[in-house]
Symmetry: D4
């Protein structure tokens, strides 16, 4: 894609359609929208397959509103993560027709893409991991994946996970979310062929609290093929999962 | 127990009582109750000797209420830990006749089992360790142990502990709870034959605060036989202590 | 696969081919080989798609030799990781025809599977990251992936990476290996659609040495879709990459 | 400067203008104002080129008011950092004509020095880094530097930074502010000749949160010439930048 | 025991057998042997049920030899831990008839006590955990417990552990040893009623290496009743296990 | 003191004033007051030279009130530390005539002992270190030391400290309190003969915040003779300083 | 510079000197030399003002030899850092006429640039900091700066530093190197106007060893204008210092 | 002392004995010996009561030899710490008549000062703490203190410490050295009036190894009056102890 863009510019120079100075400008500046406090990256979809997502933490309600609107206007949809209920209520003029999950602290506006690929299982070890799971589920939906939720299936009662083995085996990629001891991804990873994306959560207390304990457990998983994202990063896990899922699905379609 | 269950299934297959498909189902799925946000592990009592306990942190008041009720209905009792006063007040329809300790942030509903085994001493180094001690004491009671409370017996006045040596020596297992320097379990462990379960607490400030200092002290205790649970984990200490106590008591009874 | 195995057992019981006791045995014990110091997991290939791999650290040369031989005899191939040169030299009776990489500290014996799927790019930020890259490359080869090596392409001269953009864009999944500041995966992830597996290395010195600095950088990557494995874990990254690559390739083939 | 002061004292002793005891006093006590709770360093401007700056954290509103006033009376201007809005509102009798930035939590009273030297670029990776950037910008202004703000130019869309390369190349020194993965200073440092002052911010969550991740990234930057200040320390970065900028400017002027 | 000792002293005073000064001496000084560099605690057996054990790290070969001999002479047996092969070879005049395990770095001299209580299962997740397991096994033997070794039974092939469930269920207490992700104790703890003593090992590499990762996993175990000892502390785990085992056994015998 | 007490008991036994059982009681139980939630150590003054001090954190207002009263009744004075204003206001029935410092979060009731020994200098690096300094100053007063306050004398204007050198040199021991870089004790320690007690404070932000940075600086001080207490522990520093000061003073008096 | 390069390419396209495909190549690939294990960045001098420097750690002697030679051939000089004596001796065919410092573990080959700008003071707190200081001094020399060495001037005898104040005040930028408590940069920074680059060293032991203590001290320095590089990073400090020094000098020359 | 020196200079100026330039020199430069790699602080004895001590780590054998000789020539004695046996053997021309302790890694040359003050007890918890204790003991001797060694008196057999209570109570200050759990100083501090200087050692293994565990324990000691030095810093503890001891002794003598 980049190459075509460059070829177009080169051709325009050769054809005299572009002055030297203008060409220089074009070569140096790829499109973005400078709003002073933000430079919205309008062609990220072309480059990485998905439009810019708004990370709400550290932004004011007004900044969130304006940045979201610009992306929505350019792409027809927008995803806002880490948007807690209090800040959500401060947004005065939100995009009409949007949906918001207080639990997942996530907002989506726009049509959902048609789901493609197999459903992506999102497993949690406990009920307290739900907020992270919801962030993952909403992100998957926004990226055209259907979701199979398997909540509260930790290894203190390992049969709760085993009973869902069929659903796991029918998938292309699995998201496993766990706090406290973070054991679940190792156990799932020891049972399946699929890539497992492990998400540690900040659930728990004491030594290793804030998610350090499950993060380390997951990084040291004896089950090969387990990859890890940052603590509570349901969004990141969903991005990687959607990318893997569409890879398989895309191949299916192209056949 | 597991074996008997498996044997029963196998016999049913042989006897033709169970179709192949049905048998498969039975073998793969042990009983749990799927509530969407939680999969209640109904046969944990059979497997590990005690019904599932509700860890309240990260759950909504409504989820706590519903999960507790289901366990209560199945087992006749339920224990809820880490339930702070504010969330407790939000539970609209609690189990009638339950008791609640704001200090120990713990709730119990149901009959208490008859106490068996020797009383379990719960020693704290300071007054500030009481919430953790209360969590341990309530858990012990729920598991059929009587408790001997020895509070504020830290080594800055070591005679306060020594004066209770008789009670320590009459027990099967001892829980020692300490924050700050976490010295008490080492001193107790140097005086007795019994297994000592050490619980670091998040009491204190400065370097090593949040319980890291006493946790490390206890893990490095020079007194062999001291084992450790996570910071502030009075519940976990009580579970291990009850298990050890009933082991001895069970032997007594069976004789 | 597991289901079929279970169905077979159930059918044998029904058909009277299996006594109750024998059935119980079969249900409880999946095949492994008990060598005293090791229980070789002979059916892992069926379960997770790949035979057990030998992690050499902490094992004696004799143990490595014997475990490898058993796996080789059962599967026709074996992969041994973290095998440093000194211990390699102590193996008295190695598998004939094996290959060994002193740099990647890795040994492979057996035929290579036919390569399928697109080549997997393995990019390193610096020359010092080569040992980890070699471990990844050998593992990929052992799992039937061809490899595209792009070494020493760090962001202090970012054009070195950009010049390989075409090769990155033709792949299904990319492994990016970096020590010190660990910046490269973020930059690659900002340029491509593919899932990026980031491997921090223990290259570097000072604060954050031993790989903590690049690990944290990668976990906090602003580029969504970057997933991470443990420090120096080229093997784990290759396992996940091979799994993703075969997923796409498998779909291709099945079409 | 110090030497001249000492020479003056020595000459006064020789000339008999200063008694022995008085001389001793003079040699031992350089000028400061003892306010009981604070010893205001009145000659710091002579020694280090800039008057004492008031760090508001940990001081009461009244202390801030009184210390600021004394410095203002001595120097004609005063800068107060880390002054959050709540404490600012508690200052009953502030210096007339002052300006205050709630976002940068910074106050300035007095004339601005004439700007000299090239504008100092202040680049941030994201919108959430603005408070730190504002602290840096206000400090630069108070020290006689003009500022070129380039906000939200992180590497997930690296062209947003590259489009400002001209402005970077026209400067004497560059401040780069980033949280999360802290990648931006490495990329900027790989593109320019100028010294780069990197400021990690406490933006982000999970492992390495509170700014540890970007701090380590920046300390391990592969781009030589990148120097680092403490997390969120926009003030410190601006002090160093102003010092470097005036160094170049001073030379210009003196030529 | 202590009480009797005190009563004896008191009686002797009353009976005039002990002068005031002598009594004071007796009350203040319990028996130990001062060797200058060591004060051997000769009556620890009376107090805590087991003679002093020699921790060899940081002691010279000569000191180890002399201290061991004194304990051996007083008790008829002695246990020396953390004695690596090199230092063992430097002991010029060892106790005749002793046994030494280079793998477990442990030495025992004397008769073994008759085994009582059920065998104690010592489970390891991998082959690399053997040194710690051997330290535990030798210590158990020295304390009169028989041992059931179950090595290399980690959860990447969970059936290897499940196949030994019967042996686990017949025990009074279980020692579970694991490095890397430290997952095994959580899984074992979720399957059994017995107290589980978890030992993290320093096996593994990368983030959380040196045993921090499995230590945190075990402290955060979701399976209640899991208690933890320090990294690589097979000795400590065995002390606690023997104490628990004898508790049950003692009850059996006394019935 | 202890010896005399023991001698008395022994004599009473001999003289028949004490029955055997009573003697045992006396030997085993040194005096303390069991209040259920607290065991007040009534003879600590005899043993360590100072009555028990009440650490208010983690205690309820009622517990503080009752424990304080008992100590006050026994000793004629009581010191309560870490008592924040909110909890202070909740004490319904405080000891009449007490004094309270909201800044130092400290309460004292009773007569002050006559000051003996040289005044103890309490130096702080900044104004924000005042709360810790006040805790130290009140504790010193309660222990019969007069105090010389030297506040805000940090090394960014080192002459502010140097101007007080005379007062430092006239003392027996010096308390130096600093946050942020924690440099002041090293500089003071390089100028004086006296023992220096360094107190790190939690002043500051960013890496090493919460006092870790100054704590490490002080532990690594190049000036020999600098000893350290925990972060913000003005109380502990004052205890040690008073002990040293009275040592010198006691000698003076006894001469 | 970059702009000119781009302009040249654009002009060549327009003038028909460059085919479309060729232009694309030129635009995408900036010059580097691919040696398989390394991609030598040949135009870094144009971009950042200095040729690529060889970081020897993690590279084989042969790789170092070959990469150095290529850079030397292209630029007429080459600098190799972190080259310990053992590896240096393994280089079979070094560049003739090179110089090597075993203490600074650094090698330089080529003419030295003419020194310009004021001498750069390199101050160390102790003799043990010399290796880092030598790395800085050699790097400065390679970049055309003369060096003023002031070694062993730590604050335990602060007059040793003060006696060199004149030399400090005549400089443009100062490098201050310290281990243990890392106090020196704060003291220097409190006395001068110049930017101070602080280098923590791994000198010392105990808590904060490996350089963490001085790193934190320096990041928290109360003296504004102090910037920091990674532990032991004399090279990085010298790069920044040379950049600042040449900035001033360049201005001088251009006037 | 400093004042007298300054007064002398001032008087000389007034008397015309000192020219202005000369006076300036005198005021700015206090005496030290510049050896290039070291600036020996010749008047430290005047300032802080003790000559400069040579810290051998990081210095070459030749540097140690030369620096020691100069101090010895100026003061008649010299103390060298952290001098391991290997480096000691490399010193070609040592000071005749010196003594060296391989265990304490410490060297002393010169007459010993006459011992004054009470003997200083040096207590260790275990035999492995001896090297640190020896460093402390030699330093105390070099500073004119006699030493009372009480080795291996840890709390796992607390009577070993209690038996030495008399000796502790007859002292002015006590040094307590402990690794592993670091409990001993808390117990000693709870029994005595004297200031207790706690030294954590790097004895032990696992979590908190390298001395972090005992360091944190000691910083959090519940016994007020316990002060702490860095891990393994026997030298620093002895400096503080000697300072306190001489304070008391000085008073005695002057009476």
């Amino acid at each position: 894609m980049k190459e075509e863009r460059l070829k177009k510019i080169i051709k325009d120079i050769k054809d005299g359609k572009l002055s030297e100075d203008k060409a220089l400008e074009n070569l140096k500046k790829l499109p973005y929208l400078d709003m002073g406090y933000a430079r919205v990256d309008l062609h990220r979809e072309i480059r990485t397959g998905y439009p810019e997502v708004v990370f709400a933490e550290g932004k004011t309600a007004l900044q969130i509103q304006e940045i979201s609107r610009r992306i929505y206007e350019n792409h027809g949809s927008v995803l806002v993560t880490r948007l807690d209920g209090q800040k959500y209520d401060q947004i005065k003029d939100p995009i009409p027709g949007h949906r918001y999950s207080p639990e997942g602290r996530i907002l989506y506006a726009g049509e959902y893409p048609a789901a493609c690929g197999a459903p992506v299982p999102v497993i949690t070890a406990g009920t307290a991991d739900l907020p992270v799971a919801e962030e993952a589920a909403w992100t998957l939906a926004a990226k055209g994946c259907s979701v199979k939720k398997i909540y509260d299936a930790g290894v203190s009662g390992v049969h709760r996970m085993l009973s869902s083995l069929d659903e796991l085996e029918d998938s292309n990629v699995i998201i496993v979310i766990a706090g406290m001891d973070g054991v679940l991804p190792s156990v799932v990873g020891g049972c399946v062929k699929q890539p497992v994306i492990a998400v540690p959560t900040s659930t728990g207390y004491g030594a290793g609290a804030g998610g350090i304990a499950p993060l380390l457990t997951m990084l040291n998983s004896c089950a090969p093929g387990v990859v890890v994202v940052n603590i509570d990063n349901g969004f990141g896990a969903a991005c990687a999962a959607a990318s893997i899922n569409s890879l398989a699905a895309g191949k299916e379609e192209s056949s």
